[in-house]
């Protein structure tokens, strides 16, 4: 199980995150926490929740960066969760088989009943997508909301990850990135979606859409109207206007 699926299916479920419009509101992160606190990996333990060293398990965390210098740069809010990589070492390093990648849709999961909590998978994940639950002694991570996306007790429209359905600006998209015709694949193609740390060869399924750079509208410069230049406000004197 810990080896990657010998014959991975064509389906590669994942997220596409649009950095051009993410306002960094943390809604996806908190809604993820809320859903998953009682979901497949329940609970998402919080240590010292009202104290000095509060620290909790989160499957999605929103960072903020600045890219470029001073006014020429951009502030970019950057949500980070498991990328459900195609060839992730977090799975292969796992000594127990608890960490696995599903052949049918590519989702990377941890089996809480067999994980020994050696933390090696978290070392092997370059992206920091694995969260150790000290109290449970097991590794936890984004499940791509597997208990929503196939959930037959839910309405069809609700069968998307919690973070996707809650994002107020619609910066998060969910779909099959293995199908070039899917909405998400088209979006990635149209907007030059990219991989994080491609140099490591994990082949993330999740893609990020780059921020678009400042737009300077090509508007013709305003020229003083000859009339106004000549007559000042009296330029408006002769107009016939009706109410």
């Amino acid at each position: 199980m810990t080896s990657l699926p010998a014959s991975p299916g064509a389906k590669k479920l994942g997220l596409v995150i649009d950095l051009d419009i993410c306002v960094g509101c943390h809604a996806c992160a908190v809604n993820c926490k809320e859903w998953n606190a009682g979901g497949h990996s329940a609970p998402l333990t919080d240590l010292d929740p009202y104290g000095k060293d509060v620290d909790g398990v989160w499957f999605n965390r929103v960072h903020s960066f600045e890219a470029g210098d001073h006014d020429c740069g951009r502030t970019v809010h950057f949500p980070r969760s498991c990328l459900h990589c195609e060839t992730p070492d977090c799975v292969t390093v796992c000594p127990t088989g608890a960490s696995y990648k599903r052949a049918e849709d590519g989702i990377v999961l941890v089996n809480p009943d067999t994980c020994i909590g050696c933390k090696l998978c978290s070392w092997a994940c370059p992206y920091g997508a694995r969260e150790f639950d000290e109290t449970d002694g097991v590794m936890k991570k984004c499940t791509l909301c597997i208990d929503r996306i196939y959930n037959e007790t839910m309405e069809e429209v609700d069968r998307v990850p919690a973070c996707v359905s809650t994002c107020p600006v619609s910066a998060r998209h969910f779909g099959d990135l293995g199908d070039p015709e899917s909405d998400v694949s088209r979006l990635v193609a149209a907007r030059q979606g990219y991989d994080l740390m491609p140099e490591l060869g994990y082949k993330p399924v999740n893609k990020y859409l780059p921020p678009r750079m400042p737009k300077r509208q090509a508007a013709p410069a305003l020229m003083p109207s000859e009339e106004v230049a000549a007559k000042g406000f009296l330029a408006w004197l002769d107009r016939m206007l009706s109410r």
Partner: protein, 947 residues
């Protein structure tokens, strides 16, 4: 093999809930629709209600953390009576009966003798329709909610100019705008709608420009960020106006049709009529009709009004169209981009380019909707044509002492471009537009307040001239907060930020009881916190507190609780009935009026009561009119939910507009419907009346819309609402300052009144900037999207996102001052100093530093550990912000009295010593009976049978 690695038991189709109930979120004032999933009677999940007009299914971080708000260890559990010194936080628990008896005793005495001695102020209000009515019934003018320190500049500027406003009264046309200019917004009340809108707008490729000293949040995703110097936007906007006027790129047709641009202004310097509109004997404004070449009725549809020229009135006086005054003013080189560049720090080239872009989009990319409509005069138009430039502004504009005028300037810019309530522009949200200004005057003049009597009229309203002010014959303010006095003539929302100081000083008179609700007034909503705390606890020479009684209703152990003598614990938002009424701050969007309720989805596990129930109960005990029957029995024995259904403000108009009429068949107006709440619940706890397509734009002049608005009581008549570029009431105050009329300002305020009551927008430097020599930097706060003022810190999930705050300093500024990332610095204002930890950044104006608002907490409050980061590394800028200026005048907008939070000027320098923020105040004890916070939170484990 399966023993060695047994397959994961993934249950793909778990049933999440036993029951799903709808209600309305109140993790902030945006008021989104939510679906609360309950499992085994516990909160399992809260999600957005997809059908809801506000949030359309999405939820923000705060809303998603509602479970933790509800389970907060900071929740109050029982009424508390102070036992120690005020401010010590020492209380004992008492029964409700005792609490209500006490309060009734204090209040009954006041009402019998001098009702003004009750100051009733509410903060994060959503029940103003109830509380304002209650105050009137009690008979005190000393009532307001928090608007005076929040955004009255926006509300007043908008309502006096366009009869609507940004804030919650209007929104950009997210569907059609091609250019969106946003001033000073970090989050705003329409949290989710703005985010949904920005997503759409950017998705369509429209250009989004954010004017803001700081580049985070919305500004981060702007296509262009303009890092303006704080307090200077007015100048920027007026320079844009200058450029547009010069190039003659304004919508003259729009001005003539919908605004007072052609109205004739009398030019008779030195006389009492100078600067007022020329009117006929029926009081109708006049214009110069070019068809007849004579003075004409400016309100008639038949005239062809002139926008310029000097004309003679029948009485011989000279008059000119107000537009000419406007053009004369802003064509002046004083408003040239070069001049504005010096003030704003935005280059002249950028200002010119933005002006050109605005003009290009407005005039070359018009949006035409194939929707025939009829205007106010009955003329049919085949299409709706709009100039797709939208604007929005909030506290970056309002929280300055020049905010009223700056906001007016923005509305003027919008109007000159012809973008008010047109496709692609700014859109009113019903019940707006209303006549500019709305026809409600504040009550509370001398003679309107009497012992044992209700006040005939609401405590808040809109003054149109000196005669509407609430002042004694000698000019002394009638209200404890001095609202509607010469200090702040257009203080439409009252001035909550002056109440504590004035009550302490007995200026203009001493009060007996300060009754507050949902406002953390000894902390993050106070200016000059240390002094405020001192005033709350100060005693007179006899050893009695200078503010004799303080009653406070909160749901949580906030900083303010410790300053109350009597604490009335409220429910949480998931435990009570609430009403988001059109009579209050509505949740409508531009396509339709809407209101909503909150229903209890869980039962309180504590001895707490909904404040609205308590207020009505007190009303009954005090025998207040409207709350009792003739025999003295309760008019609404069922409490607030009973009141919601049966109370009528005017015949047929009640708290809720949906499903009225005995059978629930009328919309908007109609007899009370006993089944109304059930109908709301069945509909997801909200009601929305969608406007017909032909009513959705030009609402100020749209026959069909105006007829509808009148039928449901939004407006009093179907007359068009004329946008007021030139605001005549301002001139009336100015004339009084010049010595005209019976009600005149005291001499010390004459010059100031004359200067600031300009009927056209002006820009002047904020007072603090002018006087704070040696304090070269502006210091601002921003709303964090994941935290609501003080009340998010008790939330185990949200506090992980913002458990402490940094002071953000520009990298260049940091280099100049020798300050590195993570350093600790002193931030010093003329009031004192605060120690905080630095984060360097690029995206901030070079003369500005900023931090997140209200993250800093007082040690021991909010159910947090005494050494929680909120108190150890969190801090407030409020300690540094004066409620009064160095010379004792209010640190406020001279027109509206709006608190000038963002005028704060500081200097910075490296600090040493331990890495702890300063000042630190004495740690407060947990209220008696409070739950001990858990050290380990495994919420949700039970839903999966894990322990």
């Amino acid at each position: 093999m399966s023993f060695l690695s047994p397959p994961d038991r993934v249950d793909l189709s778990v049933k999440t809930a036993d029951e799903v109930k709808t209600t309305t979120c109140y993790m902030c004032a945006c008021r989104c629709g939510i679906k609360v999933h309950l499992k085994d009677g516990q909160l399992r999940y809260i999600e957005g209600n997809r059908d809801h007009p506000v949030n359309k299914g999405v939820l923000c971080a705060k809303g998603s953390a509602g479970i933790m708000q509800h389970n907060s260890p900071a929740r109050l559990r029982k009424p508390l009576l102070r036992t120690g010194e005020r401010g010590s936080g020492e209380f004992r628990e008492i029964e409700w009966a005792e609490a209500l008896d006490l309060a009734t005793g204090w209040l009954a005495d006041i009402r019998k003798t001098d009702p003004r001695k009750l100051a009733f102020f509410t903060g994060r209000d959503q029940s103003q329709a109830l509380t304002g009515w209650w105050a009137s019934a009690f008979g005190t003018p000393n009532y307001a909610a928090h608007g005076g320190f929040c955004s009255v500049n926006m509300a007043a500027a908008g309502l006096y100019t366009i009869g609507g406003s940004f804030w919650e009264f209007g929104e950009p046309d997210w569907e059609h705008a091609r250019y969106f200019l946003m001033f000073g917004v970090a989050e705003d009340h329409a949290s989710n709608p703005i985010k949904i809108g920005l997503g759409k707008l950017k998705g369509r490729g429209a250009k989004f420009v954010s004017v803001n000293p700081v580049r985070t949040g919305y500004s981060a995703i702007a296509d262009e960020w303009i890092g303006v110097k704080p307090g200077t936007d007015g100048m920027l906007v007026l320079a844009l106006v200058h450029e547009l006027l010069k190039a003659d790129r304004i919508d003259a047709d729009y001005l003539v049709r919908y605004t007072n641009a052609p109205w004739l202004v009398v030019r008779a310097p030195g006389t009492a009529g100078d600067g007022l509109f020329a009117r006929d004997d029926k009081g109708r404004p006049l214009c110069w009709d070019k068809r007849t070449n004579a003075v004409g009725d400016a309100l008639s549809a038949e005239v062809s009004p002139a926008l310029a020229g000097t004309y003679r009135l029948a009485d011989g006086r000279e008059a000119i169209p107000s537009f000419q005054l406007l053009a004369e003013r802003y064509l002046d080189p004083a408003y040239a981009p070069e001049k504005a560049a010096e003030v704003t720090g935005v280059s002249a080239e950028t200002i010119r380019r933005i002006a050109a872009e605005l003009a290009e989009v407005a005039f070359s990319e018009t949006v035409t909707l194939d929707v025939p409509w009829t205007d106010w005069a009955g003329r049919r138009h085949q299409t709706m044509v709009g100039r797709p430039v939208a604007m929005h502004a909030m506290r970056g504009i309002s929280a300055h002492a020049n905010g009223f005028h700056t906001c007016r300037a923005i509305h003027m810019l919008q109007t000159l471009l012809g973008t008010i309530d047109v496709p692609g522009g700014f859109r009113y949200r019903p019940p707006y537009p209303r006549p500019a200004p709305p026809a409600v005057r504040p009550a509370g003049k001398p003679g309107q307040v009497a012992p044992g009597q209700a006040m005939k009229g609401p405590p808040l309203g809109f003054t149109t001239g000196p005669e509407d002010l609430l002042v004694e014959a000698d000019g002394t303010p009638c209200r404890i907060d001095k609202a509607f006095s010469w200090e702040a003539p257009i203080a439409a929302h009252g001035l909550m930020h002056h109440v504590i100081r004035n009550a302490w000083a007995g200026d203009p008179y001493p009060i007996d009881t300060l009754f507050m609700y949902m406002a953390n007034m000894s902390w993050n909503s106070a200016m000059n916190v240390p002094e405020t705390m001192a005033m709350l606890t100060d005693k007179d020479s006899s050893g009695a507190y200078r503010i004799p009684h303080i009653i406070y209703s909160d749901a949580y152990a906030s900083e303010m609780v410790s300053y109350a003598d009597l604490v009335l614990p409220d429910t949480t938002y998931l435990e009570r009935w609430d009403c988001v009424s059109l009579l209050d701050r509505p949740i409508s969007d531009a396509d339709g009026a809407a209101d909503a309720i909150r229903q209890p989805v869980v039962t309180p596990d504590r001895d707490v009561r909904a404040f609205q129930d308590v207020v009505l109960d007190l009303g009954v005990r005090l025998g207040l009119p409207g709350m009792v029957n003739d025999d003295g029995s309760a008019r609404y024995p069922g409490g607030y939910s009973d009141y919601l259904v049966r109370h009528e403000r005017a015949p047929g108009i009640g708290s809720l507009a949906g499903w009225r009429g005995a059978d629930g068949s009328s919309d908007g107006a109609g007899a009370p419907n006993p089944d109304q709440l059930k109908r709301y619940i069945d509909n997801g706890c909200f009601w929305q009346h969608e406007l017909a397509p032909d009513q959705r734009y030009f609402k100020h002049a749209n026959q069909s819309y105006l007829a509808y608005a009148k039928s449901v009581g939004f407006v009093g008549s179907t007359d068009p609402i004329i946008l007021q570029l030139y605001v005549e009431p301002m001139q009336k105050f100015r004339l009084a300052a010049q010595g005209h009329g019976p009600v005149q300002p005291p001499d010390r305020l004459r010059a100031r009144t004359e200067k600031f009551f300009d009927p056209l927008p002006i820009w002047y430097p904020p007072f603090e900037h002018e006087t704070a020599d040696g304090f070269p930097l502006s210091a601002l706060t921003q709303r964090p999207m994941a935290m609501y003022h003080s009340w998010g810190s008790q939330n185990a999930w949200l506090r992980q996102i913002h458990g402490a705050n940094r002071i953000y300093v520009g990298r260049r500024l940091g280099e100049r001052e020798g300050i590195a990332d993570d350093d600790w610095i002193w931030i010093e204002s003329r009031l004192g100093r605060v120690k905080a930890q630095v984060r360097l950044m690029d995206g901030v104006n070079d003369e500005t530093i900023w931090t997140w608002n209200a993250i800093g907490k007082r040690s021991g409050t909010w159910g947090l550990a005494k050494d929680a980061p909120e108190s150890q590394r969190g801090f407030l800028l409020n300690h540094l912000i004066g409620d009064v200026l160095a010379d004792g005048a209010p640190n406020a907008d001279p027109v509206t009295g709006q608190a000038a939070w963002y005028d704060l000027r500081v200097r910075i320098g490296k600090a040493d010593g331990p890495p702890v923020s300063e000042p630190q105040f004495q740690s407060l004890p947990r209220p008696p009976g409070a739950t001990e916070p858990t050290g380990l939170l495994r919420y949700g484990a039970r839903f999966r049978g894990r322990s």
